[in-house]
Symmetry: D2
Subunit: 339 residues, 4 copies
Amino acid sequence: MYSFKNDYSEGAHERILNALVESNFEQTDGYGEDYHTERAVQILKDKIDNQNVDIHLLVGGTQVNLTAISAFLRPHQAAIGADTSHINCHETGAIEATGHKVITMKTDDGKLTPSLIQKVVDAHQDEHMVQPKLVYISDSTELGTLYTKAELTDLHNCCKKNKLLLYLDGARLGAALTAEKNDLTLADIAKLVDAFYIGGTKNGALFGEALVICKDELKEDFRYFIKQKGGLLAKGRLLGIQFEELFKDDLYFELAKYANNLAIILKNALIEKGYKFLCESYTNQQFPILPNEVVKKISEKYSFNVERVIDENNTVIRLVTSWATSKEKVLEFVEELNL
Amino acid sequence: MYSFKNDYSEGAHERILNALVESNFEQTDGYGEDYHTERAVQILKDKIDNQNVDIHLLVGGTQVNLTAISAFLRPHQAAIGADTSHINCHETGAIEATGHKVITMKTDDGKLTPSLIQKVVDAHQDEHMVQPKLVYISDSTELGTLYTKAELTDLHNCCKKNKLLLYLDGARLGAALTAEKNDLTLADIAKLVDAFYIGGTKNGALFGEALVICKDELKEDFRYFIKQKGGLLAKGRLLGIQFEELFKDDLYFELAKYANNLAIILKNALIEKGYKFLCESYTNQQFPILPNEVVKKISEKYSFNVERVIDENNTVIRLVTSWATSKEKVLEFVEELNL
Amino acid sequence: MYSFKNDYSEGAHERILNALVESNFEQTDGYGEDYHTERAVQILKDKIDNQNVDIHLLVGGTQVNLTAISAFLRPHQAAIGADTSHINCHETGAIEATGHKVITMKTDDGKLTPSLIQKVVDAHQDEHMVQPKLVYISDSTELGTLYTKAELTDLHNCCKKNKLLLYLDGARLGAALTAEKNDLTLADIAKLVDAFYIGGTKNGALFGEALVICKDELKEDFRYFIKQKGGLLAKGRLLGIQFEELFKDDLYFELAKYANNLAIILKNALIEKGYKFLCESYTNQQFPILPNEVVKKISEKYSFNVERVIDENNTVIRLVTSWATSKEKVLEFVEELNL
Amino acid sequence: MYSFKNDYSEGAHERILNALVESNFEQTDGYGEDYHTERAVQILKDKIDNQNVDIHLLVGGTQVNLTAISAFLRPHQAAIGADTSHINCHETGAIEATGHKVITMKTDDGKLTPSLIQKVVDAHQDEHMVQPKLVYISDSTELGTLYTKAELTDLHNCCKKNKLLLYLDGARLGAALTAEKNDLTLADIAKLVDAFYIGGTKNGALFGEALVICKDELKEDFRYFIKQKGGLLAKGRLLGIQFEELFKDDLYFELAKYANNLAIILKNALIEKGYKFLCESYTNQQFPILPNEVVKKISEKYSFNVERVIDENNTVIRLVTSWATSKEKVLEFVEELNL
């Protein structure tokens, strides 16, 4: 049984493991006050081409989302997200647990638009309702789709006009930035959003997400929030070492590109067989709509998640590739499909 | 400069690193639903000699404390702790951030007693005050001291009588259980408290704490709380692998014993020089009271934390040893002291 | 300008004012431990025909909702409500501020059904999502509609099957219970739901809502929650005196019936003019769909709220009557409509 | 049995009741957007001699404290209070329930000093601890004592120096401002603190506290917080009418002065008998230390609260007078004492 279930099924890229082994007996200060973290942060600032951002390394994505969003909002303020957004669906109410409503809008492709945001703002105008304050988007989205530079610029302008914060969840930012149709860079993103994070867990690290705070007003005292929410790793160096390794050259992008390429092989094979998709993805998550008998057949050799039941006969499944996915297994899958 | 600052200055014991490397390309399910975690949990249940406990592996201590305590308490209930307790002093209000007061009592040695607890209970008798419900203790304590089996039994009885939960923070449980004056076992603890955790971070792991829930009523739905608080590690296997390695034989106890032994060397040397201590510790944290000129002198070659200023001329410092501390450096320190 | 804006525009029924004046110099204990409150609670238990319920008197509806729901749920649990439900729309995220998600379902008439609830339950099956636990309904609803005994029984059964709590917001319970199509009694409701409240503010009191807790497991320590959320009125007698007066005979029901009757006069006049309604209401809130020029015309003499813009030419307004509404003004409104 | 238990045992001053009766059938907008509230706010601004403050009328003191403090603080920030402070002792953890620690300092007289505050600030210097941000004081204090203008100025300066907010709980501000040794005015307070409230419940109103926000940065969106915490009274006019009546002339001060005078009669009689007091109070709360047999004897005819057991033979009781206390009963009490 080979797994296309997700992009965190294996450990870490060997360069990361090597770096951990090599640095193992260095004595460093705890809680991210070590030189590996310092170096990783500097490398990231250079890659982002912005020395003015604040960067914090945390262990996981839900942790970053709940820490950042609860730090950025005042008690009466709410986040706006797509109904498919991770904070709405798969974080066990983590944002609400910090006291904030998540207002959701229905979308076909997991992407928010200025017009959807404006509707929310227009419907919340007095103190009997929460005050929408932060727009949460993901790139790539939970459905594998992408924001273009033009779209992100429009969101930026919409947020600016309405005094909203724009926050980008980059759990799969590597997949987004290396996708065929992408035209965004890290530097663009840092200019267009108020905060975002660069996901390591799903792209070759053992764990780790780099939160980038662009807007000055959001920076103050941020380490307090990390500590309070239980996210300040004692051996913070482990985060530093991993991001150093991922970004000191282009390893991060190479790993993501590799995953995307394998996903596109799967996608093309499925297209050739005439299958449709839930929405168009150029990244490492593909959501084909398959007849149930096909789903059953491939489930004999491969594991994956069911996304949604479409009707009696058809099901949307999710196929995910990663830096660790075997190309051989992908080709084998394609072959099986054609039998 | 050699550091006696804490027990999380280095990476991990090499057996742990090796285990991570060896298992690296296994595909496993995420979020702790992998066979390494399953095995680690089984090994721990055997060591604890209790198949009925629930065990969850989390990344860090503050995370365990806030997740467990907020899961165990209803909104109007409070924790009781020593004024030096970690949840009171060094977790940035993490417990209060989940809505619960921490009621503190002054102690000399960081240890709660039935009489201190009873005072709190007696002073909180109606709905205009919080309801004390959970007693938080640490073993070894934040001051390096220990609970004896008799003392823990008394606390257990006091809690039972007052319908209080007894929770033990075992960030340094290895140090406690392998200390000279200790007479407790993991099995004893599991019988006497309602929940406790076995700390990995400060005893040879990269990170990781094993929460053991003994009381049935506290077990339900616990994974929801871990996820909601951002503590459900995507690659949960990393926790499983580490605890497997630490407990499949006696590595965990050997590492702790090693650290304690080095601390006792420091302690004895300091005693010989006539110095007194903040309180009597048999574990890997020692709190000598030193003349300021001695503090100054040793700070030239060694780093450590200042615990407290006693008076104009004397300061309490904290010296910490760990599985990774160099015996050579300890002996060198002793030698310097005698110059 | 005469107001049909809401049912809390005036003070209180004169019998309530008289009772306050008469009792003014009695010395009583504070915080609801007085004999007026005791008597009011006993009278309510008799009216509900259930001596086993717990009853607490609070000042306002949002206060009751947030206090009760946060007391009843554990941190990972969520409430389910109609998208039009008061807790979702008009309480500034009060429920989320206590840490709990409100899962909403779209409805036409503001009423939840077993099938809508089942959909939510089926979509929330693991610890990566919140756990739906409490069903929030209002009777009469925010759109003026009613639950029948059969419908409430179905909801009761659906909740029982899915281990959900059923909670009824009775801010306008008087209007519901005295409406033409109603077949529920206070005693029925106490049998079918786990907790509900009887609204005084919108039916003749200066303020005050009586929370009735039917399910034993929800009763423990409830006064702690009221105090913690700021809802324990120092002069709790004010609540006792008002509920005593409203329920010692049938004043509460008479006032509600009066308000409903006036609303039906408005409704019938609007029907006669050929106007349609957002949904069919037999209670004191009517939501006619009116041409904009009609809206404009009546707004010259009457104030009311706009509920929703339907299209370029038509608007839904809300007309509300109360115990204090002038019948003369209602007839005048009808007359104006016919000019 | 006559009660000296507290200052909220009776209803309201008759002028307040009359005002409620007279205005009863006026139609007003809800939620404090009525002209009575508008007028009351203007009258208060005039009395405070500051047109720039924001004033909000709420129902009760715990509600004001939790709403204001949680609105003013960011998640990692804490309040500092005396160990006897109301938010620490008698609000069921209301502040912690909003996520914030209350750091307490031991005092003899219920009063904080710059030196106590500085100690707290000095002990909280990094992100592993909460950040002290708001100083909570009461005037008169929970022990009946007063702040002088010099003392409040010192606190103001200490807070300014340490970037702390200064918040004054005025549940018994009337008693403070009309006490013999007082040299503060409403205008002074508004200049020296960042926010405070003027208590109505304990000085002649049915209920009601007027929160005065002096610092501009704390004003924004405040009505959202009131609504979210359940404190926005539907018939907000009730608050407006009461404060209008209390402050349109000097009724508020006359009532407080009357209560203080009666307390001083009690105090002097007790002094004459040779009894000592817990601390020196010039306000309507007196805390004499009495032999147990005296306590027993007076408890036959009078009810009061026991504050503290001093030793085997002596007890501190609390005697409270109010606007409604009978002078005759006070004199009778004095007479009994002398028998």
